[in-house]
């Protein structure tokens, strides 16, 4: 069998084949609908990405504040009575005025 000739014959056969360019019914409508839904989804994606970034930032700030609060040494206070401390603080200006007189 002459393979070279067979190859040429088969290539010639492929060339004679008429191309089928039929397009399914309403194909362009389907593509447009698909693209429109994608565009809407992309707009939503922008919001979702923004919100995720904000959420990540909030979590990071919370962790930093928590760590700061946990690892900062507490100020030494001799008093264990919170109400007394509060009263002293609130009336500090009055006490100072009394002492001045």
């Amino acid at each position: 069998m002459n393979l070279e000739q067979l190859q040429q014959k088969l290539i010639a056969a492929a060339k004679t084949e008429v191309l089928d360019d039929r397009v399914p019914y309403a194909f362009e409508k389907r593509i447009t609908a698909l693209l429109s839904s994608r565009v809407a989804a992309q707009k939503l994606d922008v919001w979702v990405h923004g919100l995720w970034r904000a959420a990540i930032s909030c979590v990071a700030i919370t962790i930093v504040c928590g760590a700061f609060a946990a690892f900062t040494p507490a100020t030494n206070s001799n008093s264990t009575d919170l109400s007394q401390d509060f009263e002293n603080t609130l009336l500090a200006s009055v006490d100072q005025a009394d002492q001045a007189q």
Binding site: Q7, K15, L19, P24, K29, R30, L35
Partner: protein, 191 residues
């Protein structure tokens, strides 16, 4: 008044997706015809065409308008078809024992008298499609573009994104691969 292609593309780029529809309507026959060279099933052809249009929409910003839109779209179509071939490499290892009767008859006729076997016969078309399916994706693409569609090496380089020397090398290898498949077929049938 009918809008020009450039106006439609500009509208799409501004966010009007509906302006893409006339472009899809106009060029889909070419996209489908090209896709049918590489895929047989209707569902596969439709998937390729859909993929082409989605890619075209996404990458429309890269279309500079220096060449016609059709050329840009056909490059995308050929590359999508190539991706499809790479992803669907089936039937490549199957034998030629399942040739249909008309295909066998055509081959017998060719062996007896090569001139009597017409290239217009449906059996010859079936046979070449069967052989093309057995080629590697690269070889099939090159044989289709170079031998069947009679495109120049330069054109193929533009369509595929390969360099001119690479197209020549791949064309040489594709012809050799095709000859090897034909030899295998001849051996299975006549030895």
């Amino acid at each position: 008044m009918e809008r020009t292609e450039a106006e439609l593309i500009a509208a799409v780029l501004k966010g009007d997706a509906a302006s893409f529809e006339p472009l899809v309507q106009k060029y889909s026959p070419r996209v489908f015809a090209t896709a049918r060279r590489y895929a047989r099933r209707d569902s596969e052809v439709e998937d390729i065409a859909q993929e082409v249009w989605l890619k075209a929409f996404e990458k429309l910003g890269s279309f500079r308008g220096e060449a016609p839109f059709e050329h840009w779209l056909m490059r995308m179509t050929v590359r999508t078809c190539y991706d499809f071939l790479r992803g669907h490499q089936r039937n490549r290892e199957s034998s030629f024992s399942d040739l249909s009767e008309p295909e066998n008859d055509w081959l017998e006729r060719f062996v007896a008298a090569p001139e009597s076997a017409s290239e217009h016969a449906d059996a010859a078309k079936l046979l070449i499609n069967r052989i093309l399916e057995k080629l590697s994706p690269q070889a099939r693409l090159v044989i289709t573009l170079l031998e069947i569609e009679d495109r120049s090496v330069k054109e193929i380089a533009k369509l595929t994104g390969w360099s001119v020397p690479l197209v020549k090398v791949r064309a040489f290898r594709a012809r050799a691969e095709m000859k090897k498949i034909l030899a295998k077929m001849a051996k299975e049938k006549y030895l």
